[in-house]
């Protein structure tokens, strides 16, 4: 079972990124839970959601330590980095998170997601770009499988945009480059 927190500014699409991850995981036969930050957790305009993805019944949807952190902005790193388990993973949006000294006992993947999305003329696709990096780094699913899942997800919502797949693949490719 993998515990993942997605965090960032409200409007960066962190909740949506989490929901897409949850949705495709479900389609691929995984058990999942998704919990938004809520109530007193909602401070300073930072939004977050936590997911658990596994092969058997997800007992507790809540967790205090996580295997992976998807950090869309600096605040997300400062708030959640310490909760990542040893040898855990941080996917950091390096467009927003600069000059941060990460812990030495975790694996950090830095992806300029906001820049990549902007360069692809899909500025709202930074979250999808981060998802690409997440899938590539965690190897939860084959990259192509997940990319198809993204297309299907948006097609079902009636707003398929090929640039989302593009963002996703560029995010995934960024991991390979690291």
């Amino acid at each position: 079972m993998l515990s993942i927190t997605c965090a960032g500014f409200g409007g960066q699409g962190v909740l949506t990124a989490g929901l897409i991850l949850a949705h495709i995981s479900m389609i691929e036969g995984k058990r999942i839970t998704w919990v938004p930050s809520y109530g007193s957790e909602m401070r300073g305009g930072t939004a977050s959601c936590r997911l658990r993805i596994g092969d058997s019944e997800i007992l507790n949807p809540f967790f205090t330590t996580m295997g992976a952190l998807v950090a869309m902005n600096h605040d997300a790193v400062t708030r959640f980095e310490h909760s990542v388990v040893k040898n855990g993973l941080v996917i950091s949006n390096s467009t927003m998170v600069k000059d941060h000294a990460f812990r030495g006992d975790i694996r950090v993947v830095e992806v300029p997601a906001t820049d990549i999305a902007a360069s692809l003329k899909n500025p709202r696709g930074a979250n999808i770009t981060m998802l690409g990096a997440t899938i590539a780094a965690t190897r939860l699913f084959p990259v192509e499988t997940f990319a198809d899942g993204i297309d299907a997800y948006f097609a079902k919502k009636g707003r398929n945009n090929p640039l989302n797949r593009e963002c996703f693949l560029r995010g995934a490719a960024a991991v390979a480059e690291v």
Binding site: L19, M26, L59
Partner: protein
């Protein structure tokens, strides 16, 4: 029907419509507002009525009227609004009508806070309104159960002609999980007791049934005794050899399940009783547990509530302790540690 990813509040609302609910009257309050929001769009699609009431008082009484007219009707609220529903719930129970009331619990007395909590236990299970009545109280612990139990609540409400409560909380309501939705059912509003004009027959009076039932005291006692006997629901996890059994419902039962799993991995014999009905409290779950050294209730509230029913259920044969999460969600390891401490104390 494939699995769908849904929020607890949405799954509950969709399942209610599929269970034949055709009327909702209610008032916005966090963290249940997705229920009226969802139903405001969904009910009209199925020929139902959604009405945003001027208050919870009006909402529950609209439900009373629609239920009296034979339609499956519901309202939902949270904490402060749930208090306002109590008058109407007592009337609906007294008139022996079916209805479903959802309380998505939030923290605190008074205004409190929108955080998840389990503070309304007494109000739901011990009769928040006046007089001699009980409601069957279902406590979903997942999005799937939010859907399944609302169907069950409508069926049981009709079977016993008594209001049923879904006691959820902000976590279960806001979280997203895959859910298999129930099949859509037809509706059957023209019941013999439903007011719709007398149509040549005797006129009907929907009011406290005590006026019309001989030996009402015995009748109503028997009704609730029957419900208490027949409708207990629970899930037991590793109670068969447990030294300490946790008792928790709703969201805290999920944390406890993890605690049991972690403790077992460490060789600590922890178990869990998860009440699915809070009234009737599943006292039957406590039989055959003579080997248990202590019970520990786990709740997200500032004051213990559940422990009273657990003490009654185990007839005080062993210590009953409580663990209170208060306004925050405890880590499962903290619960395990508390259980271990109780175990040491018993040696």
């Amino acid at each position: 029907m494939p699995l769908q990813l849904m929020k607890g509040n949405h799954a509950l609302s969709e399942a209610a419509v599929r269970a034949g609910c055709r009327f909702f009257g209610g008032y916005p309050i966090t963290p249940q507002s997705e229920i009226p929001e969802y139903l405001s769009a969904r009910l009209p699609q199925s020929g139902g009525i959604f009405l945003q009431a001027e208050s919870e008082l009006a909402g529950i009484n609209m439900v009373y009227g629609a239920a009296a007219a034979g339609f499956r009707a519901m309202t939902s609220s949270s904490g402060p609004g749930f208090s306002l529903l109590q008058e109407g719930i007592s009337y609906i129970a007294s008139a022996e009508l079916p209805a479903v009331i959802v309380d998505v619990q939030r923290y605190g007395s008074g205004l409190g806070d929108i955080s998840q909590a389990q503070s309304d236990y007494f109000q739901a299970t011990k009769g928040g309104g006046h007089g001699d009545y009980k409601c069957i109280v279902f406590a979903p612990a997942s999005v799937q159960e939010s859907a399944d139990l609302v169907v069950e609540a409508f069926d049981k409400a009709e079977e016993y002609r008594n209001p049923c409560i879904i006691l959820s909380d902000a976590s279960i309501a806001q979280m997203v999980e895959p859910v298999l939705l129930p099949e859509e059912r037809g509706i059957d509003p023209d019941k013999a007791w439903a007011v719709r004009g007398k149509h040549g027959g005797e006129f009907k009076r929907v009011t406290s049934t005590m006026y019309y039932i001989e030996d009402f005291d015995a009748y109503i006692k028997n009704k609730y005794d029957t419900m208490a006997h027949n409708e207990q629901r629970w899930e037991s996890v590793h109670t068969e050899d447990a030294d300490v059994v946790l008792v928790a419902y709703g969201i805290s039962s999920r944390i406890c399940k993890e605690a049991v799993s972690e403790a077992r991995a460490q060789g600590i014999r922890l178990g869990l009783i998860r009440p699915i009905t809070l009234w009737p409290f599943p006292v039957n779950a406590f039989s055959g547990l003579e080997h248990v050294k202590a019970f520990m209730t786990v709740e997200l509230s500032a004051l213990p509530r559940l422990d009273e029913d657990v003490k009654l259920a185990c007839e005080m044969r062993v210590p009953v302790r409580h663990f209170l999460g208060g306004v925050s969600i405890p880590d499962s390891s903290v619960i395990t540690e508390a259980a271990i401490a109780i175990l040491k104390e018993q040696r």
